[in-house]
Subunit: 404 residues, 2 copies
C-alpha cells in the first residue's frame, strides 16, 4: 500500500503541470521523439514540488576539512595555504560568492513553496534522487557531472546553476544571468518558456577474465595514483562467478566521455579495438577517449583540436618550398610565364595562371600598351600587334661564375 | 682590309688564353654543350686585353645633371633635395663609395696592362662592345642589365661588379668580396679558376597591323607615362611596308623578363594568348610577365611568391572550421572516439585516429589500467577485460534549455 500511496501522492504533486513527456509529442516546435528530441513544454510548464540541490564543496571547505583533524586555527590554515602558494583571501571570497549564490537558489525555490533538500557530494545519493522531482546542481560543470551521475531516469530533469561564473565555463549550466536572478528561471519553467533537452549518455558493458565491475569514486577520495590502484584491489568483486558470467552492465552513464588507458600517465596503453563491429586492431597509444555530443566540447575537443602553432610551422615549410620552386637555373632554355591578377568571369578565363613554356604568342587588344624588356626598353604593343616570345640558345649571355 | 686586320689583331690578343669555347668540350666537370652549359676553363684561363667598364650614373650625379641647367649651386642642390625628403649627405656618400669602387676596378685592370674604356650609360654603345674583349658593369643589377642589353655575341663575356653592396642585391654580379679585392677575381680568371655560365635570354618577334618595332629607352629619358606614349608615337616607323611584312625580330634580348600590358598601371590589359602553340585564349588581367631563369628571381618571383599573410588568413579559417567540426549536438545518439597519440610502427597501426561510431569494443592488454567515466568513476580494466561501449537513448539525461 505504501508504494501505491506514494505513487498517488507523486501524481498529485504534478497537478496542473506538464511532466517531462514520455512518448507522445506535444504541440510546439522541434523534434518530437522521446528518444532524444527536445519538446516545447507547450501550454503546460514545469512546476516541481520537491527539488534536491546538490552543492559543490568549495576549495576553502575542502582545505578546512583536510586540516580539521589537525586542530588548526583559521590563522594556521591561512599560513599553511600561503606556504603552498595559495591565496587564502581568494579562496574565502570564492567560497563566499558560491555560498551566496546557493542561498539565492534555495531561497527562490522556497519562496515558491517548493520543498528543498540541500546536499553536499557525500550526502547525495540515489535516495535523494528518488525523492526529488528535479535535481539542481549548484556549482560548476563538475557538480553537474556529479548530479547527473546518480540520475538514471530519463524523465528526471537535472538543471545546472553556475555558482562561480568567474571560475567555471559552466557550459553544462544555465546561462549565467540566471545565477543572480533564479526566480526568473523558475517563472520561465512555470510558463513553459523553455525547451527540454536530452543529453545522450554512454553505457558500458564489462566482461572477460579477472574483471571487477565495482566502481571507485575518484573525487571523494582524492586518491593518489597508488591509492587508486589499491582501491580497485580492495573493492574487487568477491564473487568468482563473475568470471564466467555474461557482460555486466556497469552502474554508470557517461555524460561527457569514457577514457580507457593506463593509470600511470607516463605509461603507454596496449589494447585491441573494434569500431562498429569492424575488425579488431591491436593498438598502442596514450589511451582512448569515447565521448558524447556533450563531451565533444570537453576533453575530446582538446585532444583533437588543431593547434595553430603546428599548422603554422607546417605552413611555413610548405610556403617556403613553394616559393623556392619558383626559381630555376639561368642556364635552362625555358621561360616561365605569369598572368598578373587574371580577371575571371563569364566572359574571360585563365586556364593556367603560370607555368613553364617554350613559346608564348600574344595578340594585343590593348589601347595604349607596351612590351617592355628588362624594365628598360619599350615597344608599342596595341590592338592588332602580335608578339612571339621564345628562347634561342644563340642569344645566351656569357658570364663567369667565380667560387665564393 | 681593316676588318680583317682587326680580326687578326683580335685573335692575337687571345694568345695563350682560352677563348670562351665554341663547340668542343674542354676537360673538366659540368655540362659540355655550347648551347648553354658552363665549362671549366681548364688549363687555360681568360686574359682579355681590352675591357669596357660600364659605370652606373649615381643618384647624386643624376640630381646634379637634372638641376645643372638651372644654374644651382651645391648648397641650392642640398636644400632642394632636403625639400624632397632626400638625404644629401647620404647621396654624396653613396656616390663616393661607388666612385671609389669603380676606381678600384679600373686600377686593377690597368695594373695588369689591360686597356680600359670607362663609359657611362649614354656613351655605352655597340661600338664599345665590339672594341672590348669583355664588358664589366660597375654598379648594381640594373647596370648589369644595361651592359648585357648591348651584347649579342654569346662569346663576349659580361661580368658584373657590385659597386654599392649596401643598396643593391647584386644577384647578377660577382660575390661582394670581389668588389674590394678585384685583383683576386682577375687572378682567378687568369688561372682558369672559374666556370663559364650562359644565361639564357628571350627574343621577340613582332608582326601584325600598326606595329612599331622601334624601341624606346625608358631609363635615359626618365619619361612620365604621358611622355612615354608620345615617345612611341614620335618614333613610329615611317615605312608603311612594315604593316605587311613578316615578323620582325626585335633588336633586344631579355635577360630578366618581358612584360606586356597597358602602360597605365591602373588600366586592365586585354589580349589573347597562346602557350606552346596551344589554343588561343582571350584574357583580361594586369598584364603578362614572361621570364628567364635569371628573371625567375626578379619581378616574376614577386608576382608569384606566396605571401604568408594570405595563407595565414586562409589557414585560420580552415583551422577554425576544422575545430568547429569536432563539436556536435548533445542530443545526437552517436559517439566520437579519439586515439591519443597512437604509436605507429612495424608492429602497431591505427587505421583511424578519430571518428564517429555507434559502438566501440575494447579488449585490454594493459598492466594497470582503468576505464574512467566523466573523470570521476573508475573501473579496473586489465589484461583480459573486454568493454563494450555504446549509447542507448533510454540512458539520456533530461535537462532544460532556457532562452538567453
Amino acid at each position: 500500500p505504501f508504494p501505491a500511496l506514494l505513487l498517488l501522492l507523486k501524481r498529485g504533486r504534478f497537478n496542473r503541470q506538464a511532466q517531462p513527456p514520455r512518448s507522445e509529442p506535444r504541440t510546439g516546435t522541434g523534434p518530437c521523439s522521446a528518444d532524444g528530441g527536445g519538446l516545447r513544454a507547450g501550454a503546460g510548464g514545469f512546476r516541481p514540488s520537491r527539488v534536491a540541490v546538490v552543492a559543490k564543496t568549495t576549495r576553502y571547505e575542502f582545505e578546512q576539512q583536510r586540516y580539521r583533524y589537525a586542530g588548526l586555527s583559521e590563522d594556521d590554515l591561512r599560513q599553511l595555504l600561503a606556504l603552498k602558494g595559495s591565496n587564502y583571501a581568494g579562496l574565502l571570497e570564492r567560497h563566499r560568492i558560491h555560498t551566496k549564490n546557493v542561498e539565492h537558489v534555495v531561497d527562490s525555490l522556497r519562496n515558491e513553496r517548493i520543498e528543498v533538500r540541500l546536499v553536499k557530494r557525500r550526502e547525495y545519493n540515489e535516495e535523494t534522487v528518488r525523492w526529488a522531482d528535479a535535481v539542481i546542481s549548484a556549482g560548476g560543470d563538475g557538480t553537474m557531472l556529479l548530479a547527473a551521475s546518480k540520475v538514471f531516469d530519463k524523465f528526471k530533469p537535472v538543471i545546472g546553476v553556475n555558482t562561480d561564473p568567474e571560475r567555471s565555463e559552466g557550459h553544462l549550466c544555465l546561462p549565467v544571468r540566471y545565477t543572480h536572478s533564479f526566480p526568473e528561471a523558475l517563472q520561465k519553467l512555470y510558463r513553459g518558456e523553455f525547451r527540454w533537452q536530452w543529453r545522450q549518455r554512454i553505457r558500458l558493458y564489462l566482461e572477460g577474465t579477472g574483471i571487477n565491475p565495482v566502481p571507485v569514486d575518484l573525487h571523494e577520495q582524492q586518491l593518489s595514483q597508488e591509492q587508486h590502484s589499491r582501491a580497485h584491489i580492495n573493492e574487487r568483486f568477491q564473487d568468482q562467478r563473475s568470471d564466467i558470467s555474461g557482460p555486466h552492465l556497469l552502474p554508470v552513464r557517461a555524460l561527457n566521455e569514457v577514457f580507457i588507458g593506463e593509470s600511470l600517465s607516463s605509461r603507454a596503453s596496449y589494447y585491441e579495438i573494434s569500431v562498429d563491429d569492424g575488425p579488431w586492431e591491436k593498438q598502442k597509444s596514450s589511451g582512448l577517449n569515447v565521448c558524447t555530443g556533450t563531451g565533444s566540447k570537453a576533453w575530446s575537443y582538446n585532444i583533437n583540436k588543431v593547434a595553430n602553432q603546428a599548422v603554422e610551422e607546417i605552413l611555413n615549410i610548405v610556403t617556403n618550398d613553394y616559393n623556392d620552386s619558383l626559381l630555376y637555373s639561368p642556364e635552362e632554355p625555358k621561360m616561365f610565364f605569369s598572368i598578373r591578377e587574371p580577371i575571371v568571369n563569364r566572359v574571360f578565363s585563365s586556364s593556367r595562371q603560370r607555368g613553364f613554356s617554350s613559346k608564348v604568342c600574344v595578340r594585343s587588344r590593348c589601347w595604349d600598351a607596351c612590351m617592355v624588356v628588362d624594365g628598360g626598353t619599350s615597344f608599342e604593343f596595341n590592338d592588332g600587334a602580335i608578339a612571339s616570345i621564345l628562347i634561342d640558345t644563340e642569344d645566351a649571355l656569357c658570364t663567369v661564375l667565380l667560387e665564393e
